[in-house]
């Protein structure tokens, strides 16, 4: 396909919104618009009810206006509830600091005083809130202001409204020192949860921020050089599997491991990790469809990839370092050694290392997790599948780095030894032992799962009699190992 023939075709592209101005980041809308407005409504209610009676039309009207506004906002923000919290220093909505302007901040102190009198600091407002429920809230405020008082810290509970006392973490003392192993587990768990939330937000209409995901990616990138094995182990423990967000997080771990091994700078490692996570987010939107019957390198393929770039641009950041990851969407579908047609690039280029790296990581993860119609494979089988196409579909050098990193029996898998015992792989054969010694490939360091937790280096001469017989299927694992066993 030549570049000249392209212009008349891409109707899809023409109709696609590209980098259309969104309403801003979802969390910014929450903290900058919804939060201040929510406080504004509550203050208005307090003031109106102090001037008029509870039954007065003005009060009812203000309550109704508030509930309608609230419902609308919850729908728009794709949220079930707004949780307003007031601490000594801050106002928070759904856990994030409300970004007031100067005067609004001063005005909001009216709320702080009201909450203070009630000895509560948290107001939860849920979908379906009725004007009648607001009435009980106002009553509480009025009682707090009057002589009757309310039991300290008791608050109120309605079907769609709760006024309670919650612990707000605002002090540096709240962050405790914890076991490093636990910190690593927390990082992986945090990544999974944040990616799941991010993906969940993407299915709606908003353009969510991936900043919390990125924070975890950064933290993992920081510790990866020392604890890469541990993260492979966590992936292989398969706490959760078979979900888009898990696939994205795992691919990210594999891809960052590769990037680290290649020697990329830490910011590039993060870029690789974020690329892995966000590579398919446009497919979470229902409006994105791929044409049927396209073949690698044809016009449809080009247009489809271009549309992916456009949609991803809309969802992702236009920040330079983030935007560059769209290259993988542009190059998607090409085997490593196939030159992209000149409609892609004027010069004859093969897929960029970033694209190759992500492709390898994601394929390995898909093979080990399985998809509809394809059963999950054991890691050694998945590796063999990759290796069967080394040099044809996958970059030979990159694949070799990858298999040496992961190993035939990766960290975290449970294996059965020739003696019949089950054991957890905790180290793949070291680089030294790998040297010219193919026989060592199936001789990792394992920890017995017989209750003794004994560590056995199968490559050591004294254990020559033992070998890995097979990888144990998840359902047949006798004792699910703790992540701490990986250390």
């Amino acid at each position: 396909m030549s570049q000249d023939t392209l212009g008349a075709k891409s109707t899809t592209i023409q109709n696609t919104r590209f980098l259309k101005e969104s309403a801003g980041r979802a969390d910014d809308v929450l903290t900058r618009k919804v939060g201040p407005k929510l406080c504004g409504h509550l203050i208005k209610l307090i003031k109106v009810s102090s001037m008029f009676s509870l039954d007065h039309q003005q009060t009812s009207s203000a309550a109704l206006e508030f509930t309608e506004w609230l419902d609308e906002q919850l729908k728009e923000q794709n949220e079930e509830q707004f949780c307003l919290q007031i601490s000594e220093n801050s106002f928070l909505i759904n856990g994030q600091l409300i970004k007031f302007d100067e005067r609004a901040y001063e005005r909001a102190n009216v709320l702080r005083r009201q909450f203070g009198k009630l000895a509560v600091n948290q107001l939860t407002l849920m979908r379906g809130l009725a004007a009648g429920e607001i009435r009980s809230l106002i009553e509480s405020f009025q009682r707090a202001g009057g002589d009757q008082g309310v039991p300290e810290g008791e608050g109120i509970r309605q079907p769609h409204l709760e006024l309670t006392q919650a612990k707000v973490q605002e002090s540096i003392n709240a962050v405790a020192r914890i076991d490093e192993r636990r910190q690593l587990v927390e990082m992986y768990a945090g990544l999974l949860v944040k990616v799941s939330t991010y993906f969940q937000q993407l299915t709606g209409t908003s353009v969510p921020s991936a900043r919390f995901v990125k924070r975890f990616v950064q933290r993992i990138a920081e510790v990866l050089p020392r604890h890469g094995n541990f993260f492979v182990g966590l992936v292989n423990l398969q706490l959760v599997a078979g979900k888009n967000f898990v696939h994205a997080a795992n691919t990210s771990i594999y891809a960052m491991l590769l990037a680290n091994e290649i020697g990329l700078m830490r910011s590039d490692i993060v870029r690789v990790g974020m690329t892995a996570i966000t590579q398919d987010i446009h497919r979470l939107r229902t409006e994105f469809t791929e044409p049927e019957g396209m073949t690698v390198g044809d016009t449809q393929h080009f247009e489809s990839n271009l549309e992916a770039v456009i949609t991803l641009s809309e969802l992702g950041s236009s920040d330079v370092l983030s935007a560059l990851r769209l290259v993988t969407a542009y190059e998607r579908g090409f085997p490593y050694n196939r030159t992209l047609p000149t409609v892609w690039y004027r010069d004859e280029l093969k897929p960029h290392l970033l694209s190759r790296l992500i492709e390898l990581a994601r394929h390995y993860d898909v093979l080990t997790q399985g998809i509809d119609g394809v059963k999950a494979m054991s890691p050694d089988m998945a590796l063999e599948r990759l290796l069967s196409q080394i040099g044809s579909h996958y970059d030979a050098d990159l694949t070799r780095v990858f298999v040496n990193l992961i190993g035939l029996f990766p960290v975290g898998v449970t294996v059965q030894l020739s003696s019949g015992e089950q054991a957890l792989v905790i180290r793949t054969p070291s680089a030294d032992s790998r040297k010219m010694m193919v026989a060592n490939l199936n001789r990792p360091v394992v920890r017995l799962l017989d209750g003794s937790a004994r560590i056995i280096d199968l490559s050591a001469p004294e254990h020559r009699g033992l070998r890995v017989a097979r990888i144990v299927d998840k359902a047949q694992i006798q004792e699910t190992p703790s992540a701490f066993f990986l250390f």
Binding site: F18, L92, G95, R211, R215, G333, L353, L354, V374, S388
Partner: protein, 633 residues
């Protein structure tokens, strides 16, 4: 640096402060207030001046210096962030919303992103301060990308001397729907407990019940097809030897792959290609227009993060692809260049060129890529400013050289520049490595340089090999006067220049010097050099030298100097007639006593045979200038 939890002072210990400690705290509070006041003001500068501008650099250096004065005694100092105030590590407020001159409290936004503490360590630099404040500014101006906030941006900076402390969120109340509606912290706890305590917790079961089906469904067509084709049946072509090959450990693989990342057609190049494809596909569409904007935005961002080489590569690519944009209203290259040639931006780029040694080449190329005239003008202004310290003077001159063309060559010798003494002083030493023969600015520059107050500049100008010096009229106007320069090196070089291409002029100049007795500043060695050179080039030279030997009586010191030199030379070249004259004057009481003695001294060292062969002084030599066999300098 991302910090682990800082040590918080024991309240009891704080209560038992000694007077010295209280004094220290008072001093520290005052210093910190001053420092953060400066940081507050730095934001204004960051908003007015572009990245890399010298004024910003200087101001941030001053802040760093002020911090250093504290860090000399403290080693490090902690600052706790609050919504509307900053606290010391013992909890004392030292900078509040009210004390800030800004409408918006600068530290509110970082705090809202979860940053609750900063720590500055000994060695903190102006560059680090600037990077920190750029992050704070971006967050306050809301120019942060979707993937970022204060915490991620601070991580990117990878500070050596600034640590920050951040919370993931003040309260995690987001519902993780995929986790059965648990809140985020609860979902995380389930995962953690399931990983750490799989036997004793119900969390594994919880997870199993939530995630009981495989639902990876956002894969692209090609991946699905490929995975399905891989999964089907036995592996046909796989051999154990493949396994051996794959696992053969080669340390060179990493560096080899790294090279692919860092060189060749990089990500920026490919991404811009993708955006150009969008424009090409639908030039007048909204998508095309936005793609154009994104190209501009990304290139300017690359410049802001000092990826000058990448930015330049994009600009070169856009120039090469101008055919794509010819039929459209989109012209990203024009939009990129427009802000870059504003004086402040140019100033910043030139300043970064001084600071970033490893980026100099790229910055010079970038500047030369822009419009020639504004870059030339800026280079000229910088070169003329004596207050401007130029660590990479050669690079600035190089840019000037490269952006000066026939059309703007007259600018480099405009009076407003030439009249600044420092201008040519800076340029001339750094022009020598360039091809000046074909440079349109050379002639004008050389003409100005030979008249410069600095002898070094004059000398450098004469040292330039340029056709100008072969031009008779130029030599007469600009070189000949330098034969009487106050500085010997200049005079000598001027004579060499003349001697090489302008023999007649050369002779005239020497004759003029000798006849006029122009010895001011000249050493006797130089006078002798002139005389000997004159002999080589002028047949009647010895006649003049003999005349110079003759003076007697109360002649001037100048003439005595010339006479002495001439005597040495005629003796040196074994001019018998001249020797006879020297001898005669050495015996004459009309000759000044001191000169007479010097003549005698000279004669004492002459071969007696040669002295005997000298004719009578009043007899003319057979042939003027004739030298005995073997006679030479």
């Amino acid at each position: 640096m991302v910090g682990s939890v800082p040590q918080v002072k024991d309240p009891q210990a704080l209560a038992d402060q000694t007077p010295d400690e209280l004094k220290r705290q008072k001093r520290l509070v005052s210093e910190l207030a001053g420092i953060f006041n400066m940081l507050d003001r730095s934001i204004t500068m960051l908003r007015v001046y572009p990245v890399g501008h010298p004024l910003v650099d200087t101001f941030c250096d001053q802040i760093a210096e002020r911090m250093q004065t504290v860090l000399v005694t403290e080693e490090e100092f902690h600052v706790t962030l609050r919504a509307n105030e900053l606290l010391t590590d013992w909890g004392q407020s030292f900078f509040t919303q009210e004390s800030s001159e800004r409408e918006q409290f600068l530290w509110y936004m970082p705090f809202s992103d979860g940053v609750y503490g900063l720590c500055f360590h000994e060695g903190v630099s102006g560059d680090e301060i600037q990077s920190l404040m750029r992050v704070i500014d971006r967050v306050n101006q809301e120019t942060v990308g979707l993937d970022d906030d204060t915490v991620t941006l601070l991580w990117d900076q990878d500070f050596d001397h600034i640590t920050y402390y951040a919370l993931d969120g003040f309260v995690d109340s987001v519902i993780a729907r995929e986790f059965g509606g648990l809140s985020e912290p609860a979902a995380r706890d389930v995962l953690i407990e399931a990983a750490i305590e799989p036997k004793n917790s119900k969390d594994r079961e919880t997870l199993r019940s939530i995630f009981n089906t495989n639902a990876i469904d956002n894969l692209d067509t090609f991946t699905v097809l490929h995975i399905k084709s891989q999964a089907g049946g036995e592996l046909q072509n796989f051999r154990k030897s493949d396994l051996a090959y794959a696992f053969k450990y080669e340390p060179s693989l990493g560096p080899k792959l790294y090279k692919q990342w860092s060189s060749g057609n990089d990500l920026e190049h490919r991404f811009i290609e993708a955006l150009i494809s969008i424009i090409r596909a639908n030039p007048e569409s909204e998508s095309g227009r936005r793609a154009g904007n994104l190209i501009v935005e990304i290139t300017l961002q690359l410049l802001d993060i000092e990826s000058y080489g990448e930015a330049l590569a994009i600009m070169e690519m856009l120039r090469d692809r101008r055919d794509v944009f010819e039929q459209t209203t989109v012209d990203p290259l024009k939009e990129i260049i427009a802000p870059l040639i504003e004086p402040l931006r140019l100033d910043a780029l030139f300043n970064r060129m001084q600071k970033l040694h490893d980026q100099r080449e790229k910055l010079a190329s970038l500047l030369c890529f822009l419009e020639k005239d504004p870059v030339q003008k800026h280079a000229l202004v910088i070169l003329c400013d004596p207050k401007r310290e130029l660590a990479a003077l050669a690079a600035v001159v190089d840019v000037l050289y490269r952006v000066t063309e026939v059309e703007n060559a007259n600018q480099i010798t405009a009076a407003r520049y030439i009249e600044q003494p420092i201008y040519l002083k800076r340029i001339m030493p750094n022009l020598s490595e360039h091809d000046l023969i074909n440079w349109p600015g050379t002639s004008a520059m050389l003409k100005a340089a030979v008249a410069h107050e600095s002898y070094e500049v004059r000398l450098q100008a004469l040292n330039v090999k340029h056709p100008l010096w072969q031009d008779e009229r130029a030599a007469e106007s600009y070189v000949a006067p330098l034969c009487s320069d106050d500085y010997e090196d200049v005079r000598r070089r001027a004579l060499q220049v003349l001697g090489k291409s302008h023999a007649k002029l050369f002779r005239e100049v020497i004759a003029r010097v000798l006849k006029k007795g122009d010895v001011k500043g000249r050493t006797s060695g130089e006078l002798r050099f002139l005389m000997r050179t004159y002999i080589q080039h002028e047949a009647t030279a010895l006649v003049l030298l003999r005349e110079l030997v003759k003076p007697r009586g109360w002649f001037s010191a100048t003439k005595a100097e010339l006479a002495r030199a001439a005597a040495v030379v005629v003796i040196g070249v074994k001019d018998l007639e001249g020797i006879a004259l020297v001898k005669k004057r050495s015996e004459s009481f009309l000759t000044r006593a001191s000169l007479r003695e010097e003549y005698k001294g000279l004669l004492r060292h002459i071969d007696p045979k040669l002295l005997g062969a000298a004719p009578a002084a009043d007899k003319p030599a057979d042939k003027p200038g004739e030298q005995p066999p073997g006679g030479s300098q």
